[in-house]
């Protein structure tokens, strides 16, 4: 085992099978203490299954799970000092808000008065003190969500598991709750493991993100690393918007790869370790990493025609059909508009990018 103090949850080669179906393929992960860690992936990728394995609602088929150095994968849920905020909140409908929050403390063996007192403090933390005697059904979705959070935090778990807790809230409330969750995590110092399918939410809140798909880990890293240096096509496509171009690696020199798009177009980008000359790979170029001009103005300029300009508030998205035949999306921030003129639909335009803008993907 590694140092007990800095790894909160260690998952070693965890496999989960349901009959013939394998939901998780040998997942290994270390989640640090005090970290806001996110499991991100589309529905059915196994992220919730992994969370349920940590909580103890499902048993691992193979592998081990450690909580601060102690193996927990064979313990029942009530013996694991992790608490869960459920997607549908699962607030006990026959109990008042205060009774809900005090439940975990009571089950830990605290006296009723102590449990109630601590539950009251938790309700203060989530600013719901005045609703202590209401039933959950009398509260709004956002309030219920905060009750669920208070209930899960009240027994001071070592790790808090959050199963898409914000998915039922409307956009404005969700944004506010994202900040509040992040704030509470920092204040309490409890490790949060957060499950979501919303990449924007993951990027906003997380210290680190594990991107999952088809029951396997695709990439693990800080939000910025995952966004800027995706390992493979799935990650590049799932996190943010991107343009994917199919290229052939022609030459590698000084850490740069020359990638040929077609007979008359090629592009230089940083080579990733696994790349070999002659490989047929995909390039990912983020829309905001390119600049649209009427004249070619960089080393790497590609000529095309503007197909569509879409106004989306903060940005303008322009779709350009390149001479190579592929369509590419370029995003221009609205604050740049003073200096850069929008090129009208049907006019020629040049798409300019730096060497570092494009990223070669491993598969």
């Amino acid at each position: 085992m590694k140092d007990k103090t800095d790894i909160a949850v260690e998952i070693q080669a965890a496999v989960k099978r349901y009959g013939n179906f394998t939901a998780l393929h040998r997942i290994s992960l270390s989640i640090r203490d005090n970290e806001f860690f996110t499991l991100l992936g589309p529905s059915g990728c196994g992220k919730t299954t992994l969370l349920r394995l940590i909580a103890g609602f499902e048993d691992v088929s193979e592998g081990q799970i450690y909580l601060f150095g102690d193996e927990i994968d064979t313990l029942p849920p009530h013996k694991r000092s992790v608490n869960t905020v459920f997607q549908n909140y699962a607030l006990f409908p026959h109990m008042s808000v205060l009774q809900n929050v005090a439940f975990g403390l009571e089950m830990q063996g605290k006296s009723l008065s102590k449990a109630r007192k601590r539950a009251g403090e938790m309700l203060e933390l989530v600013q719901l003190s005045q609703y202590a005697n209401r039933k959950p059904a009398q509260m709004s979705g956002g309030q219920q969500q905060r009750v669920a959070l208070a209930r899960a935090l009240a027994p001071q778990p070592k790790v808090l598991l959050l199963d898409e807790p914000l998915s039922a809230l409307d956009l404005k409330l969700r944004k506010a709750m994202q900040l509040e969750l992040k704030h509470i995590q920092r204040e309490t110092g409890i490790t949060f493991i957060f499950v979501t399918h919303d990449q924007e939410e993951a990027l906003t809140m997380s210290d680190r993100i594990a991107v999952m798909s088809n029951g396997a880990l695709q990439q693990l890293g800080a939000p910025r690393d995952i966004y800027e240096q995706p390992h493979n096509m799935f990650v590049a496509d799932f996190i943010g918007d991107t343009n994917l171009l199919e290229v052939t690696v022609e030459a590698i020199s000084d850490g740069d790869a020359k990638c040929r798009i077609d007979d008359s177009h090629a592009l230089i980008c940083p080579a990733v370790e696994t790349v070999v000359v002659g490989a047929r790979l995909h390039l990912s170029i983020r829309p905001e990493r390119m600049i649209l001009t009427e004249e070619a103005n960089a080393n790497q300029s590609f000529k095309g025609t503007v197909v569509e300009n879409i106004f989306i508030g903060t940005d303008i998205t322009t779709i350009v059909k390149l001479e190579t035949g592929s369509q590419i999306t370029v995003r221009t921030s609205n604050s740049d508009r003073g200096s850069k003129r929008i090129i009208d639909v049907g006019h020629d335009a040049f798409v300019n990018m730096e060497v570092g803008a494009a990223r070669l993907l491993a598969d």
Binding site: P77, P93, F103, M107, A137
Partner: protein, 268 residues
């Protein structure tokens, strides 16, 4: 609702409804009215009187009826309680036991007695008690009633339980409750309206039963239905109508309670 598919627009709908209601309720109304008859005859009306109600409690047959009523209510209460406990356990196992192989057959086996003709059950129960040499009496009635009340208690409990998501129990166990604490503190209170409905149904079914009771009861022990039947065989008297009206009122009260309990929502 679409006016062309609304059943109320069908010709003869009103007539058919009235006809059915009359068939269903006319006998009950007649019995109720004639229980207040001052006459000795069951068919000739001689004015309003409570004499037959008084007769039930202090008349020549009152001892017999009081004993029968005591037997009926105590059996209904005990058998209903036992059947409800067993049905609660069965519903928990079948709804929460996951996908085990005999799940569908066990569900079928529990509810089958409702479909089986009662006379068959009665004969089978009698043969059973005879073959094990059990002396017929109060206990045989109680055992038989407990057995056939189980499916009636089971159905409302199962219906209620299917509406309770298992995430509540998961949340309880996540919050350090053991399996039995999660059951007692979370599942049981949520199931309670179903359990009470199940008990009331079992109670009324037991109270009302004649065929099985008549087969398994020993000599000299009567429940209300068998006592009424015995009395009727010696000639129909208005006191029977008074008893019937009281039983009818009890049924109405219990059905009403059962209805409000099923609507009862502790979450508000």
């Amino acid at each position: 609702m679409n006016p062309t598919t609304d059943v109320k627009t069908y010709s003869g709908f009103r007539l058919a409804t009235i006809f059915c209601m009359v068939i269903l309720y006319a006998p009950l109304i007649v019995v109720t009215i004639y229980s207040f008859n001052a006459s000795n005859s069951i068919t000739v009306w001689k004015g309003l009187s409570f004499r037959w109600y008084v007769d039930v409690f202090i008349g020549p047959e009152s001892t017999k009826f009081k004993q029968a009523a005591f037997n009926s209510f105590s059996i209904a209460f005990i058998a209903g309680t036992l059947a409800t406990c067993i049905a609660t356990a069965a519903a928990t196992a079948i709804v929460r036991g996951g996908q085990y192989r005999l799940r569908t057959p066990s569900l079928g086996l529990i509810t089958l007695p409702i479909m089986v003709p009662e006379i068959v059950l009665a004969v089978a129960t009698l043969i059973f008690f005879n073959s094990i040499g059990f002396t017929r009496g109060y206990l045989t009635i109680l055992i038989a009633h407990t057995a056939f009340c189980i499916p009636f208690a089971y159905l409302p409990i199962q219906a209620r339980m299917q509406g309770i998501e298992d995430s509540f129990e998961h949340a309880a166990m996540d919050l350090y409750a053991t399996r039995s604490q999660a059951f007692r503190r979370i599942l049981l209170p949520l199931m309670l309206p179903g359990i009470i409905s199940g008990f009331l149904l079992a109670f009324i079914v037991s109270l009302d039963d004649f065929i099985i009771t008549n087969f398994v009861k020993g000599a000299g022990i009567e429940t209300l239905p068998t006592a009424i039947f015995g009395s009727v065989k010696q000639g129909l008297k208005p006191n029977i109508m008074a008893i019937s009206t009281m039983l009818l009122c009890l049924s109405i009260v219990m059905v009403t309670i059962s209805y409000f309990i099923s609507k009862w929502d502790k979450t508000k």
